[in-house]
């Protein structure tokens, strides 16, 4: 039997992060990098590039074993 805070934390994790935690980590790291590149053109180009790569990697992993 789990306590309700643990159950709530688990629910929140599954609600926001979902099936693939690497997506959340990649987005967080990319946002730190965008903040570091404050004001430069690379700032707004970086995140869409990361999104495409992380989505492709996640999909490849999802179908990889088939």
């Amino acid at each position: 039997m789990t306590s309700w805070p643990a159950a709530f934390a688990r629910f929140l994790y599954e609600f926001v992060v979902g099936d693939d935690w690497t997506i959340a980590v990649a987005v967080a790291v990319a946002l730190v990098a965008v903040r570091t590149l404050d004001g430069t053109a690379a700032g707004y180009l970086l995140l869409p590039a990361v999104v495409v790569v992380v989505l492709a990697v996640s999909l490849r992993r999802a179908i990889g074993h088939r």
Binding site: D20, V27, V34, D38, G39, Y44, L55
Partner: protein
């Protein structure tokens, strides 16, 4: 333009979740009776209204840049979940959402469940209806709060959600059957694209970078993500076909 996107994203996401909640409510109402089911629906709706009413004003006092970074990042992660599942479904690697099938399963489970009454309420119908509406509704509440607070217009986001829920409810009452003909999988794909687009846009602004063309960049981002996602669907479909050829009939 942003206001239109705000309303559209909130409306589409709410319509999708509304259709899913309606399937559960119909299965329970028809097999277990409407009174306890509707008490569950009303209690969950009131809980969701309290969540939005409590968190909405709190979010609007956070400085816009910090809000966009945190909420934009969360929205992006959340949106990528939707988009990933939608691409897997469209590519043939995940079963399509089938409301008719879900309705049959829910109705069968409701018929087989025992009859426990507390204070005149069918406890099974109440709890399943409450949980179903609350869980589907939390996704809507999340989208309304994140979109609304970032645009500083929670009422417009909430209006999009309420319009969609009312529309689904009216059609559901009229047809008394799960809305299996609603292009739910296509709508989920569109919502995933919108969440990912807005999440990216706001997170980058919150992180301190600025978009060339300001709001017009939203359209470019949306077109870019749509093109990439459709290309991924094509690749997955080709992979699905080649895998199916390997499996003997």
């Amino acid at each position: 333009m942003s206001a239109l996107f705000l309303f559209l994203a909130s409306f589409l996401a709410s319509a999708v979740e509304g259709v899913e909640a309606l399937t559960i409510v119909l299965a329970l109402g028809i097999t277990r009776g409407w009174r306890s089911t509707m008490i569950g629906v009303a209690t969950a709706s009131a809980t969701l209204a309290v969540v939005v009413a409590a968190l909405g004003p709190a979010l609007t006092v956070i400085p816009i840049r910090d809000l966009r970074l945190v909420v934009g990042g969360l929205l992006l992660v959340f949106g990528l979940q939707w988009l990933r599942k939608a691409i897997l479904r469209a590519g043939g690697f995940k079963a399509l959402h089938d409301e008719a099938e879900i309705y049959q399963r829910e109705a069968e489970e409701a018929r087989l469940a025992g009859a426990e009454r507390r204070r005149g309420v069918d406890w099974y119908a109440f709890t399943v209806a409450f949980k179903g509406v609350l869980l589907e509704g939390l996704e809507v509440a999340f989208i309304v709060l994140t979109f609304g607070s970032n645009q500083r217009n929670i009422p417009l986001a909430a209006a999009g959600a309420v319009t969609a829920v009312l529309l689904v409810a009216v059609v559901g009452v009229a047809v008394r059957a799960p809305l299996a003909r609603v292009p739910e999988n296509t709508m989920k794909f569109a919502v995933g694209l919108l969440l990912t687009t807005f999440g990216t846009f706001w997170a980058v602004e919150g992180a301190g970078a600025s978009w060339p063309g300001r709001d017009a960049a939203l359209l470019v981002l949306l077109a870019f993500y749509a093109a990439v996602s459709l290309a991924m669907v094509r690749l997955l479909r080709a992979r699905r076909v080649s895998l199916d050829r390997l499996v003997p009939e």
